[in-house]
């Protein structure tokens, strides 16, 4: 069967980066086509071109044999191409039906026929197998339900091509399953689905065919997903073999470096105590909201403590003063890079040196030459992919931004305790293993490292010891030799959940 949607020879450059070069592939009608690749591989650029948000420098997009010329997203929309972005585009204050009919309300003389509209939408939703009440306000819906509404919008517009950009990134597994069955139904209708995801499980569960992009080029195209292995896809994405992405290695563990003694605060009322040793990677596992981030934020001075002590190498760290904590050797790579990690609009160099430049100044005057050298050294050491250290950090992919934040703390002198909250969130496989490697190196150099992660395989893969938190208290401590998925999960789940699942 010939391709219904066809990309041929697509190239696109942005200042300083070649985002796509000569990408060609086709997708059959009635297929779910996976689009994979690391961050910065060019997936989003391709989708932007498909949706008319950006124009290709070269190459064409053909739909059912017709070459498409989009001036705007509106044109693509009219041609039946709908992209569902990670950030959903619904009006929260309106009802589901109002959102679905926005722009073409069924009205007579400007008066909307509400009952007819709700009836009509309800019928169409039922037909599509989407169980959302059309009279509810979008603001009251869960993220999963909102996603359904977005898809319903595409279905009601009779979209021929629906592209989903990481649709499950904020869905629970039950919600994801509902989404998948909906996608299955769309496939049967004979639509073309482009499915972008980092998650291999999902791609294997859903997709009929698959394209892998790497560094803006076509790395692989599989007409059928049968017989393709996970390892194969991972190495196509990364461009090299990754046998063991954790790559944990044993190392000597020294004396106690960080002592946390009954620390508690507004958001974490139960006092928490633990120790971390030199050269140790200590993991914190727990459900979201278990209090892990709150604990680390109090240790690093990001949030004030109501009581308790934090000592580093025997020296007391005051509460709520990040600048002092940094001087005494405790630094935090926070969880939300965008909110409190990167400084948007400033260069990589400035993002790196914001804290450590005080070592390079004389009477507050900067030594630009030396600063450049320091930035260059760490960018190279951590293999940050960037055309220049003067680049605005916002232009980097998530993994590279995370590395820049690590550069910030590596360039700081005398760091003894590195606290890292979700070090690999939103980062692709290749960059992940590089970041793990950096953590191992730092531990080998004698730093005490505390890692929070919500991914159980990750904590089990990289940590020497795991503390499990549940509802604001430390519920278990497990040494690497005793790591076991079941016992860690059991300690992380609140009692009633475990009781329910057992009984």
């Amino acid at each position: 069967m010939s391709a219904y949607l066809e990309f041929s020879g697509i190239s696109k450059s942005y200042p300083g980066v070649k985002a796509l070069s000569n990408v060609s592939f086709g997708v059959r009608k009635g297929a779910v086509h996976g689009l994979m690749g690391e961050n910065g591989a060019g997936k989003s650029t391709l989708i932007r071109i498909l949706s008319g948000d950006a124009a290709a420098d070269e190459g064409t997009v053909r739909l059912d044999g017709e070459t498409q010329h989009y001036q705007s997203t509106r044109d693509a929309f009219d041609a039946g191409v709908v992209v569902i972005h990670q950030e959903l585009q619904l009006v929260p204050g309106l009802t589901v039906a109002e959102n679905l009919c926005l722009g073409r309300f069924p009205a007579t003389g400007g008066v909307i026929g509400f009952s007819a509209m709700y009836e009509d939408v309800r019928r169409k939703l039922e037909l599509a197998g989407i169980s959302v009440d059309p009279t509810r306000k979008v603001a009251e819906l869960s993220i999963g339900e909102r996603q359904m509404v977005e898809i319903a919008k595409a279905v009601m517009l009779d979209a021929r091509v629906i592209a989903l950009d990481e649709p499950t990134s904020s869905l629970s597994s039950r919600e994801s399953e509902i989404l998948f069955s909906l996608i299955d139904r769309l496939r049967e209708d004979g639509r073309v689905i482009l499915y972008i995801s980092h998650r291999l499980d999902e791609v294997f569960r859903l997709c009929d065919s698959l394209t892998v992009l790497r560094d803006g080029r076509l790395a692989a195209h599989h007409e059928t997903i049968k017989g393709v292995t996970r390892d194969q896809i991972v190495s196509e994405m990364v461009g090299r073999e990754i046998s063991d992405i954790w790559g944990w290695r044993s190392r000597p563990v020294g004396a106690v470096e960080l002592e946390v003694d009954s620390v508690h605060g507004e958001k974490l009322p139960v006092p928490a105590s633990f120790e971390a040793r030199r050269g140790e990677i200590l993991g914190f596992f727990g459900l979201i909201g278990a209090g892990r981030s709150e604990l680390l934020r109090m240790i690093s001075g990001a949030d004030p403590r109501a009581g308790g002590h934090v000592r580093v190498g025997g020296v007391e760290i005051a509460s709520g003063q990040p600048a002092e904590a940094i001087r005494k050797g405790v630094v935090l790579c926070s969880e939300d890079r965008k909110f409190d990690g990167i400084i948007q609009g400033r260069s990589l160099e400035e993002n790196i040196l914001i804290s450590s430049r005080r070592h390079l100044t004389r009477f507050g005057v900067l030594d630009l030459r030396q600063e450049g050298q320091v930035a260059e050294t760490f960018l190279k050491k951590l293999r940050v992919r960037t055309p220049s250290r003067k680049q605005d950090i916002i232009n980097l992919s998530g993994g590279n931004q995370q590395k820049v934040i690590l550069c910030r703390w590596l360039s700081e002198k005398g760091v003894r305790v590195l606290l890292v909250d979700e070090p690999t969130r939103g980062i692709d496989v290749g960059a992940k293993s590089e970041i793990y490697d950096i953590l191992y190196q730092l531990a080998e150099e004698g730093m005490a490292i505390v890692v929070i992660s919500s991914e159980l395989p990750e904590v089990m893969g990289i940590c020497d010891r795991i503390l499990v938190m549940c509802e604001g208290r430390i519920s278990a401590e497990i040494e690497r030799a005793d790591f076991n998925e079941q016992s860690i999960l059991a300690a992380a789940l609140p009692d009633e959940v475990t009781a329910a699942s057992v009984g």
Binding site: P322, I326, I354, G364, L366
Partner: protein, 280 residues
């Protein structure tokens, strides 16, 4: 052809290009524009706006705002005149005015940073309070200067160029250096880019804000003294609406109101554009 023009105007140096074009146009169309006398007059006219734009740039770059500058300029001019008259020493008068200006700025900074009151609201309030102080202390009338030496601040010339213009030039150089080459400048830009990230990276954000506002107040006093000398009296109603001219000049110069972006050259061009627009 059109795309390259577009690029030139909308690019990084777009403002400079527009400025040069405007300058050339005005030079050709307005008679006597390009004379030394007129040029110096133009520069004289932008001294107040230009001087304050230097520190307003820091304020805006740090995501803050200062609406009290106009009132503060008038107030400091009054203080300079009245203190000179009272003590009989111009030097002491100037010193008092500088201290008064810095104090107003310090007050703004402390209220904004420590009490966490929105900069817009805080400076809107100080704008009224300070203007009120200027009016009360002078009974609403202009106050003349006893010692004619005070006029010399604005009238004296060095190498044929009036002193205020030298002051302006010096401040441009100093604040350009501070912005680009000191920890203070870089931290200001970082704070504006992402205040929370800067705090966690060890920047003392509260302290920085207090300093920025204090500096702003101090520079307002400089502008106030020069202005009082030029108009040969302390005028409680001087410099009304100045805050908007200064902010406009900064924004014209590419300083982002969302914080994190500012260049000294941009601000200089912004100030000059305001000057040309007003005088011609």
């Amino acid at each position: 052809m059109t795309t390259s023009i577009k690029k030139l105007i909308l690019g990084d140096q777009g403002l400079l290009v527009i400025f040069i074009l405007a300058f050339a146009l005005v030079s050709l169309t307005v008679p006597n524009f390009l004379t030394e006398r007129n040029m110096l007059g133009l520069l004289q006219s932008v001294v107040t706006v230009g001087v304050i734009a230097c520190t307003m740039m820091f304020c805006l770059a740090a995501r803050d705002f200062d609406l009290s500058v106009g009132s503060n300029v008038a107030f400091c001019g009054m203080v300079a005149v009245m203190a000179s008259n009272a003590t009989g020493s111009i030097f002491l008068g100037i010193l008092t005015a500088l201290a008064a200006g810095a104090l107003v700025g310090l007050f703004n900074g402390v209220v904004i940073a420590k009490f966490r009151i929105n900069a817009l609201i805080t400076t809107l309030a100080t704008m009224q309070i300070v203007r009120g102080l200027a009016l009360i202390s002078s009974d609403g009338r202009a106050v003349g200067i006893d010692d004619p030496g005070f006029y010399q601040l604005a009238l004296s010339r060095f190498l044929g160029v009036p002193t205020p213009i030298w002051v302006l030039a010096a401040l441009f150089v100093v604040f350009g250096f501070v912005l680009n080459r000191t920890v203070f400048g870089k931290n200001t830009l970082a704070m504006g880019g992402n205040p929370e990230a800067s705090r966690l990276a060890g920047v003392n954000v509260d302290w920085m804000r207090i300093w920025i506002f204090t500096l702003q107040g101090f520079i307002c006093a400089v502008a106030g003294i020069l202005l009082a000398s030029r108009i040969t009296s302390g005028q409680p109603n001087a410099a009304t609406g100045l805050e908007l001219s200064v902010i406009s000049a900064c924004v014209l110069g590419g300083v982002s109101l969302a914080g994190g972006r500012a260049t000294m050259t941009g601000v200089i061009v912004g100030v000059m554009i305001m000057g040309i627009a007003r005088t011609s």
